[in-house]
Each structure stands twice: as structure tokens, then as C-alpha cells.
Amino acid sequence: MSEDVGAARTPSEAMDRRLRSRYRAERRFRIYGQAAIGFALSALVLLLGSISYEATSAFTQHEVELEVTLDAEVIDPFGERDRQDLRRADYASLLRTSLRELFPEVRQRRAVRSLSSLLSVGAEFELQRFVLENPDAIGTTRSFSLPVSDDADLFLKGLIDEEVVEGDRKVSDAEMTWLTRLDESGRIHRRFNTRFFTSGDSREAELAGIQGAIRGSFFTLIVTLLLSFPVGVAAALYLEEFAPRSRLTDLIEVNINNLAAVPSIVFGLLGLAVFLNFLGMPRSAPLVGGVVLALMTLPTIIIAGRSALQAVPPSIREAALAVGASPTQAVLHHVLPQALPGILTGTIIGMARALGETAPLLMIGMVAFIVDLPQGPRDPSTVLPVQIYLWSEAPERAFAAKTSAAILVLLAFLVSMNAAAVWVRGRFENRT
């Protein structure tokens, strides 16, 4: 008997082999894991890299410096300084005159039109705005830095292939020569594109901005948060702490779990049918978008809230009850503060999902082309992901960069929201 035990203890050849193969398996397993993480990381880097690369050109914009004579004859033929007159004046002709002074050899009407098309339509509006703000400047000659058109901008950024046959190119040979001459005379500057962050959508790529979509997303999320957080927390608290265990609560629980898995477009259809058609709420408004997204986010918050409440040790509840706290006091004074980090994390993750949601908002008309910046949750507007969708469909090439830039902005918001979730959790956990 004792001999047998001793024999088993002596490491045999077979045992050694087994041990070696176990170590090999261990190493292999670790390599699989590292390979999986490496794959995920490289996919992420590839995605972010290509989007950032595409987006860089959208963050700058070329402007041309022009001396424009604010001819009183053109702007204010009656000399009354009437704002209506000033607004309606033919600023395009002022720009045309100014450009023709630089290129006196251009005479043909078609060539002149082509020359003026180097400037963005926005240049006229900038002149108009300047004159309306400074009516005293009429009659003087001033230097303006004006945006060039999207195609001219692409050419200046070197994104137009000069080898392509002229007919297939967006910028003609003549336009290319003019732009090169302007550039050589030091009139062209590449500037940071603040317009992209401060203006609303536009048909002209060089004028389109993301501010409208940012505001729309902001108002939508505010409405979503204000609705879904209190309702979600109240529902989670009641279900977890007060509701009697019964068939009915089981049924409710199953339904909440099912709702969390419902495709978001269904919520959009619901919003269309109920809020727009039945209740007659405004179309394309963040108010309705927020309500629809709140319905979508509610199950997420309830589920996160319930699991956060479940994680609070029952001894805390007992301790509170034992000193004579009522059940509500026990929950509000002790359980809820403990569960709050978890609830907030769930809420922020739900909000991040709502921020990236597109489909339900298409159903309630937030896909409209809206130029004006929304001033409140009742104004028609669009949201970031829908703006990305709209730009990705635009035929002008310059919108491709805009699309990527908008994606970067959306990602920046998502990352900061998730960072906020981590921060909130850390802060609350340290406090206890």
C-alpha cells in the first residue's frame, strides 16, 4: 500500500509530458486571447483612422481676400438706406466687378460666370450681412476674406485630380489657372473652418455646419433624460423594493425585458402614430424625438436600475428598518444612494444609445433639411446621426469629408458621455 503511494508521487515520464502539454495549452490560450484583442483594436484603429483621415479636410476652408467696392449705386440706388433695399441689393455683381478687376482679360459672359462661381454663394451673404451691420461703409472699398466654392476648395486642397479629362472634372482648366494665380498672389488662405461648428445645414457644402444638429441632439436628449430618468428610477424602485411578488409583476418584468429588445424603428412608428397623428404634436421637433427616445431608453434604465438596487446588500435595508425607518425611508435614505452610481451609469449608457439613434427619428420627420438653428425643443431640427445620414447621401463630393467630420463629432460626444459614466461611478464609489 505505502509502496503504491510512493510510486504515484515519483514524477514519471508520462506526467512530465502531460505537464509540458498543459503549459503549452496555457500559452496557446493566452495567445488566442491576445490575438482577439489585437484584432478588435486594429479594427478600431482602422475605422477611426480612415474616418479621421477623411474628415481632416472638412476642418479647414480656403478663403480668398478680395477688395470689394461697396458701390452705392448698386447697393442703395435711392440713397434711403432702407434695410429692405440693402437686403435685396445685387451683391453678386459687386463680387463680379471685384473679380474682373483682378482678371481683366475675362470678358465673355460664360467665362465671367465661371469666374464668379469660384466664390461661394455664402460670399454674397457675408457682404450683405456686413452692409446691414455697417451701412456707413457704403461707398468705400474694403478688403474681405470670403469663402471659395466647395469645388474650388477641393482643388486648393489638392483633392481634384488634374490628370482627368476636363469634361469629367468639376473644375475647368480656366478655373484652375485663376485659382493658381490667386494663390500665387497670396490672396488665398487656408483657415480653420469655424463655420462648420457654428452654422446650420446648407445645400452648399462649404457653408454646411453641424451646429443645428448638435442643438437638435441636445434638446432631444434633454427631453429624453427628463422623461426617462425619473420614470425609470421610480419604476425600478417600485418593482424592486415595494411591488408584491405576483403573476402581474412577473408579467411586467417579462414585458420590460422584451421592450428593451424591440427594434428602435418600432418606437418611431409608435411616435408617428400616437404623438404626431393622434396627439398632433409638431413634426420634426426634438420634443417628439425626445419622447420617442425616452420610451426606447426606459427599459434600459429600469433594468440597470433594478440590478443596481439588487446589488445593495439587504443588510442595509434591515439595519434601517430595525432602527424604525419606514420602508420608504429605508429605500430613499440608504438603498437608493447606494444604488445611484449603478443607476446613473445605466442612464448614461442609455442616453449614449439614444444619441446615436437614427431610425425612430426618421419616422417622425427629423430627417428634414433644416437650415435654421433650432432655438428650443419645439423648433424643427435634426440630430447628429441623422445629419450624418443626410450628408452621406449628398451628391457633392465635399460632403464626404463633412460626413466623416460629423461622425467624429458624434463619436466625441459618445466618448465624453461614456467617460462621464466612468467618472460618476468612480466618484460615488469613493464617497462611501
Binding site: I316, E318, A319, A322, V323, G324, A325, P327, T432
Partner: protein, 267 residues
């Protein structure tokens, strides 16, 4: 459920005033009966130890005394439990008031994740038993002193209660319980999570507290029951086998099962 003999229930047993009493107490968890017809008197300003093997119903019994079983789903209590002759399961009785009169200390120290001060001040605050801040300060310090903890934590009342050691936490829980000035304190194996030194401190404390409070303690340790209690009740399989003077139970029990349990033959 109404006991016809309740008017004639003794309010004194062996010369000691009866503080709490149960008669014909049955407790069910769903279909399972956890306690069967338990009749027991708990004397005022005494320590009553409840002993018995695991699952014998002693904790269940303890939790009937301040209706903590109310929060257990599926739990049903039948019979009569009185505090100073009043039925505590009467529908007219406010359970919040009852728990202010019958405090509880749990097996595992469970301070609130708040400051030491807040832990003790919470009970008085929700009951509104103090008028102002200075009275509350005073009460917190008095309670901590009674629990024998004041000297150790005086300088750090703002620190979280969870930062204390296990034994200190348990004394903090005792301070929290006595801050609402209860008449009875229930202790559910208060020393099972503590080391021997901390246990000795808590046992000393129990002995001191006896002067002001009636104490019911559930314990797994026979030695502890012998050291701290005046009365002992032995539970087995959901029924009360024997109860009486601690000395008598430990030296000369009348039931064979008690004899077997305290000599370690089962349990």
C-alpha cells in the same frame, strides 16, 4: 388566535417582571412551519439567550419580537406576541414605533455607509426625538459611550462607519440601536463574525447594558450563553424544548435533548 386566558397571564415570573411574551407562536415560511407553539416569557432587565442547532428557529423567533419577519416574503406569523402586555401584531400597532422600542443588532455588522456620527444620529433624527443639533451631538456621544466606542472614535466621527474594524463596527451598530432608547434589544449572533477579543468586549457590554435594557441574544456558543445570560431557552426543530435559569439549563437540564446538545452530542 385570541387567548382566553390572556387576562390571567402572569406579568411576573420567578420574581422578575415580564417584558415580552409569546404564547402559541407559530411561524410559517410558505408551506414550511419554522416555529411551533412557542410559549416563552422574557424578563425585564435580563439577558435571555436562545440556543439550539442551526435551523432550529431561534433567529426566526427573535425576528418575531420586532416584526422583522414582516419583510420576508411568504412569512406568516400566528399566535400572540406581547410587549408590556400589548399585542405587537395588533393591526392598530405602528410597526415603526414598535421597532423604536425593540431594537436589533444583526449577525454581521451592518453600519450604514455613512459617517460614524450619521450612523448613530439616523434613528433619533427620523423619530424626531431630539430638538436641536447640540442635543443630537450629546445623544450621539452618550450612545457611543454606552456602547464603549466613544474613546476609540471620538476624534474621527466624520469618518465612514465602514472604515472601523469588525468589532468596532458591531459596537457601532449597538450604539445605533441604543440611540433610539429602545426598551428591548434583540441580538442575532452578534459575535459570530468577531475575533475573541472583540467578542469579550461585546459580552462585557451586554452585561452593562442589562441594567437599562432587556436583551434577547441568539448565540451558537454555549459558553457565551453561559457567560452573558440569566435565562436560557433551548430550541430544537422549531419548538421550544426547555427554558429557565441559565445555571439550571447548563448544569441540570430536565430534558434529555438539552443535555445532549449542551454536552456536544449533537448540534
Amino acid at each position: 388566535m385570541i387567548d382566553p386566558t390572556r387576562e390571567s397571564l402572569p406579568n411576573e415570573v420567578d420574581g422578575v417582571e415580564v417584558k415580552m411574551q409569546t404564547s402559541g407562536l407559530d411561524v410559517f415560511y410558505g408551506e414550511k412551519q419554522a416555529l411551533e407553539r412557542v410559549d416563552l416569557e422574557i424578563g425585564a432587565n435580563e439577558v435571555t439567550a436562545l440556543i439550539g442547532p442551526s435551523g432550529c428557529g431561534k433567529s426566526t423567533y427573535l425576528r418575531c419580537l420586532n416584526r422583522m419577519n414582516d419583510v420576508v416574503p411568504g412569512c406568516r406569523v400566528e399566535g400572540r406576541v406581547t410587549l408590556d402586555g400589548e399585542d405587537i401584531y395588533d393591526s392598530k400597532l405602528d410597526v415603526v414605533k414598535l421597532r423604536a422600542r425593540v431594537g436589533m443588532v444583526f449577525q454581521k455588522p451592518n453600519p450604514f455607509p455613512k459617517s460614524i456620527y450619521e450612523n448613530v444620529a439616523y434613528g433619533p433624527r427620523i423619530h424626531g426625538s431630539v430638538q436641536d443639533k447640540s442635543a443630537l451631538d450629546d445623544l450621539v456621544r452618550r450612545s457611543l459611550r454606552k456602547a464603549g466606542l466613544l474613546e476609540e472614535v471620538e476624534a474621527r466621527l466624520d469618518e465612514p462607519g465602514t472604515s472601523l474594524s469588525g468589532g468596532q463596527q458591531q459596537r457601532l451598530c449597538i450604539a445605533r440601536a441604543i440611540a433610539v432608547s429602545p426598551e428591548v434589544i434583540l441580538m442575532d449572533e452578534p459575535c459570530s463574525a468577531l475575533d475573541p477579543i472583540a467578542t469579550a468586549r461585546v459580552e462585557e457590554l451586554i452585561d452593562e447594558l442589562r441594567e437599562q435594557f432587556t436583551i434577547v441574544i441568539v448565540t451558537h456558543s454555549m459558553q457565551q450563553a453561559a457567560r452573558v445570560s440569566q435565562k436560557t431557552a433551548f430550541f430544537h426543530l422549531g419548538s421550544l424544548v426547555e427554558h429557565g435559569e441559565t445555571e439550571k439549563i447548563f448544569t441540570n437540564p430536565s430534558e434529555q435533548r438539552t443535555q445532549d446538545y449542551i454536552t456536544g452530542r449533537f448540534g
